[in-house]
Symmetry: D2
Subunit: 269 residues, 4 copies
């Protein structure tokens, strides 16, 4: 398999996206709202997280939702707003792509494509994303084994892309006190088997904003190359996933905590 | 929601596909190989299961696989073979569709479209399949809740299709003695909440051919409108999922057993 | 292992308890309240389920509860009431034992000892119960694999008891629409590997009274040697588990349904 | 509930065991073999982990095993060896108790009683342990929710003991690459709800020695009050759980890593 550690020469274990480099000594901190809700909302958050130390922006333009009647995102309009947020802050942008047909539009604007948990087994999308020339952030399926997660990455690698980053985001278990169970042991395990960078999304992984700081520190301590966090200026008014969103102030505090933990494991923020 | 029991008028709770009717008094027995491997293989099995009592044929032309290097199906060639099997036996055909781009080709031949477990959260495919005018067999995601399963069906219904059949096919749990854990309580639960017909796939649900007869009987006893079974003339030589395939002889015996159980719950085979 | 199918000679695959025989052609139907609440409550239910076709009574005198402040059962007083219910109905009685120290008191009255899900890994209790000369009903741990379930039975067998009956009662999964996920494939699987009789508890397995009839039928259809059901004359007033209790009337209807399904698989009620 | 954060006055959030204090600024590092195999084995490991920085010894004298034919521990002889190891190193000792009848013997020697995962729901043992005057280390049941875990602690607290420490040790999920899934989000979650100290056992939680260093660092980073690790001088020859045991050298390196991470979160080793 291309992802095998022994094929590290296949990639160099680093994935550069704008100024951010996954897999280097410096951690990548991705922050932003679950969903791009409006120009004002996105620009306010983008400037705030840039100020607080983020190295990359996130924000959903096309949203995968369980119900067909839930808000599905601003779509193309959302992409334009993300482009403006990048221009304003200088930070590269990652956003989710839901289908191959959207790839040209999304790839024209995004610096990195995200394939979400619900599409991790969507081999058609994996191949198409792997062929479009952009770095890809692949989230673990909510009930995918480590083996299946790596094989999904292999679809992207096999399509010609060597710029793949893995993201642990919580798995389905019997526990109901958290939205998912964040499986941090996936981080050292993926690094034993593969040369691909690995980051962690504690916002989806726990579903509770109060747990995000602790789990972000844990992610860095066990070797993650970065953290992806939902940040909203007004979590109580978020259209989606407000319960798991930090405020920019909380995000700033987390950055400070991560700086200390990163230093303890020989990394920087 | 359109799927709600109280909206039964939206559909009449019956989905007809060729001579087979899901949700009527007579059970639908779908049989065939995991994958269409060759013309000879498919025709041999098709004739054998027709003889043994099947009311519908299954067979994968486009296969979703965990690894990009595993056999991905005969694709268009497989569809042609399925069409010939239908002509030979008179049985309608259901086959899986993996992406919206394949829909025209698959819908031109298949009598019913299958959306597999790995695509249950693929809202783009759900909508596209719901708009193409064919009945849809929707399999439960391997870690989808009952609620999410019904909402996935709602995507298809909302796209205009009223010919949707649900299929319980096993969920991911800690148990390793079976490939998945067949959640038969989903059958009465789905029928409490929705007017959609429900069938069961004990082949994927257990992953062990020896358990399929017992679990087929259980499915019928708890109210399923049909059973979907993998049958291969030479399971030991199957390219895919041979461990969970019945021989045509075993399938014939199961049909006999189901006839008795169906009668006990007021149904026929 | 003593439980192995090939050691069927170790037991004869039948466990007799009073007039009831687990593993024979006739199914064993165990019914009664979750908890013995009072003499009147227990006697009313006992007479009603006897009338409706039960072959054995259940009722908890010592109750394992998650919280130390929840009702823990009538204890010795509950045992006396169970003895009176047996005398009144002629039906044998099974009740749970929580610790080795209680064994003399429980064994003096009960016809069969139940070891509950929470104690399936309690090897001390397993050995002690196996040494006290009474038949034992062993419930599967809520996250026990089939292998661990059989090894727990082996503790009892190894202590000298050959009168062991296994009970599938649902496992912990991500699904929240049911209290547990009833794993009916455990029934044929246990019967492939072992000569021990197997019954099913759909009341705990689903946690919803409305699903119990369907899942009881499914249990019988896939080969269970009996069903254990919670029945309460006034489920809305039950001290414990009212949501999963049938009324005696519902129980009577289920017995009728099981009669038909049993006949379909060559058994009787 | 006594465990509630708002009842912190009930305990002071610190549990002292010999020189070790759970819940203070200094972390407690518990190390030792899964099982006491012999006097030589235990003393060699005890001296080595003391040297490497352990603050407490672990070692099983009474072992809970899935199979009745697996090695069940040296029992009383094992307790004597543990007492000698304590005398030799000055480190306090924690060991598991399997049944109330063993409590006098175990409590006479151990500085802290461990109640294992398989007994977390054993309310009889919980009460008895809580009444015997020794600090108790309670491990999470392998499929226990956070709520059930805290209620199990409540049984001990309600019996009069205020010296209770919780231990996250992995839960059962579908993932098979690790023995269990270590649920580190339990650490901040338990600390939100309760004043009880919380430690983590990454050896059982992952089942793989190579993952233990990373997961120990993560545990400390997210707020654990200590770590419990299996250490064996010759893991390849261990009678039990050798795959998850560190050598004393590896343990020494982990202590060094934990020192750095502890400093980053305002703690010491």
């Amino acid at each position: 398999m291309i992802f095998d550690k022994k094929n590290a020469g296949a990639g160099d274990g680093r994935v550069g996206v704008g100024g951010a480099v996954f897999g280097g000594q410096r951690l990548v901190l991705i922050a932003g709202p679950c969903t791009v809700e409006s120009r004002d909302q996105m620009l306010e958050i983008a400037c705030a997280v840039k100020e607080a130390g983020a190295s990359m922006l996130r924000g959903g333009a096309f949203k995968p939702r369980s119900s067909p009647y839930a808000f599905q995102g601003l779509c193309e309009k959302g992409l334009e707003i993300l482009a403006e947020a990048r221009e304003r802050t200088g930070l590269p942008v990652v956003t989710e792509v839901l289908e191959a047909a959207h790839l040209p539009a999304v790839a024209a604007i995004a610096d990195m494509l995200q394939i979400g948990s619900r599409n991790m087994h969507n081999s058609v999308l994996l191949r198409a994303a792997g062929a479009c020339g952009k770095p890809v952030l692949l989230k673990r399926g909510m009930s995918a084994t480590i083996e299946e997660f790596l094989l999904a990455a292999e679809y992207i690698l096999d399509a010609g892309c060597r710029q793949v980053v893995l993201c642990e985001r919580g798995i389905r278990t019997f526990e109901t006190a958290t939205r998912f169970t964040l499986d941090l042991s996936a981080v050292p395990l993926l690094k034993e088997r593969s040369w691909l960078p690995v980051i962690v999304d504690p916002s989806h992984g726990t579903g509770r904003a109060s747990l995000v700081p602790a789990m972000s520190r844990a992610a860095v301590a066990c070797g993650a190359d970065g953290v992806m966090m939902e940040v909203h200026a007004h979590p109580g008014q978020a259209l989606c996933d407000g319960d798991q969103s930090e405020t920019p102030e909380m995000f700033g505090r987390v950055v400070g905590e991560l700086r200390a933990v990163a230093a303890a494991v020989g990394r920087t923020v």
